[in-house]
Symmetry: C2
């Protein structure tokens, strides 16, 4: 007695139901990332996925729910990667250095954003769009906040004398800088003069910048 469908056989082979569901969510992911939520119609998603209109509603529910479904599909991959890197640092013995913490938090996301698979790039782009918008953050921020809080806690242990609120603000500015490398590529490429390469090309500069910023804030009077 499965709660979802009888279409998943006992050997785990995926039938048409799950497959088209993935196609729909992939299409929604790409279009939401490229154009934003309001500029993307359900009909366009259906066309991009190669299905008819009703299928999108059948698999994705209402449009409002669709965007959260898309995010939830991959959120665990990003979270567990960040958690794993944090666990590695802790397993190494003494409390992790600030630089390693910044690196461990930023790099997994930049890797997704620079990956060959356009679907993962779209996911990273969508995160940047959604998380930095106050209209969406209340609905989806809870997906990523817990891990950020773990890192914040580790950073507070690395800088015990720093004011907690200041350190937390520094982390949010770090996240904003990270997201901007994915969402504001035109602006960054335009002003920095580089050809717009992948976000990964800016990794070293980003880490240096954010680490310097956090370090400065955690030494403030």
């Amino acid at each position: 007695m499965t709660d979802k469908a009888a279409s998943t056989q006992t050997d785990g082979r995926i039938l048409r139901g799950e497959a088209t569901r993935e196609r729909v969510l992939d299409a929604a992911e790409r279009l939401f990332a490229a154009q934003g939520f309001d500029a993307t119609s359900i009909r366009r998603i259906a066309a991009e996925a190669g299905v008819t209109l009703g299928v999108v509603g059948f698999h994705g529910g209402a449009k409002q729910d669709l965007i959260r479904t898309v995010l939830e599909r991959r959120v665990e991959a990003l979270n567990s990667k960040r958690r794993a890197r944090l666990a590695e640092l802790r397993a190494a013995g003494s409390p992790p250095a600030l630089r390693d913490l910044v690196d461990a938090y930023l790099t997994p996301y930049l890797e997704y954003a620079s990956q060959g698979d356009p679907q993962w790039r779209a996911y990273a782009r969508l995160i940047a769009r959604i998380v930095s918008d106050d209209r969406w953050y209340p609905a989806v921020g809870g997906l990523y906040d817990p891990v950020a809080r773990e890192y914040l806690h580790a950073m507070q242990q690395a800088r015990p004398d720093a004011a907690q609120q200041e350190l937390a603000t520094a982390l949010t500015l770090t996240v904003a800088s990270m997201l901007s490398l994915v969402a504001s590529r035109a602006r960054i490429a335009g002003l920095s003069g580089r050809d717009a390469g992948s976000p990964m090309d800016y990794r070293d500069t980003l880490i240096t910048f954010c680490l310097g910023g956090i370090d400065a804030v955690s030494r403030a009077p």
Copy 2:
């Protein structure tokens, strides 16, 4: 022989034409800032402004042009304020210190974003929305880039040994951090634990963070 209309008298008194135009642009500014471009309909703008539908098209042109018209209306106020502060620093004698440059660039924008007049707050919010979106930046980035370039030049003089591209990237990350204080207030307040005050409340932390970041980047090997 005026190019716009015969409704502007020789003594400069503004008649109904210009006044309603302002009302329309004000309404568009508020709604675009609060909901974004795609989620805002022309009819909603008309209702908010207290005019009929056709008036919006008459004064604002096509919807695409409307957003640029809204931004252009106030762009000179922000640019000249930043230019004036830069000129002051230069008039003081020796090349400006990095900290003063960062302060001079960030503060005028934060002041607008924290001002009592909700119209200026909306303008600041709209900038944050538009400039950090690759879909809009090509159309409006040119309004703000020249001043940013002047500051970049001054920063390069303050740090002659820094790699130019790295310094430019650090400035774009600074801008991203600044904009996030206005566009991502929910996220920042949520993670930093503060009650969401005005962006100005974060000014000191922001300046410390960005200055530390730029400083670190400009010392990189």
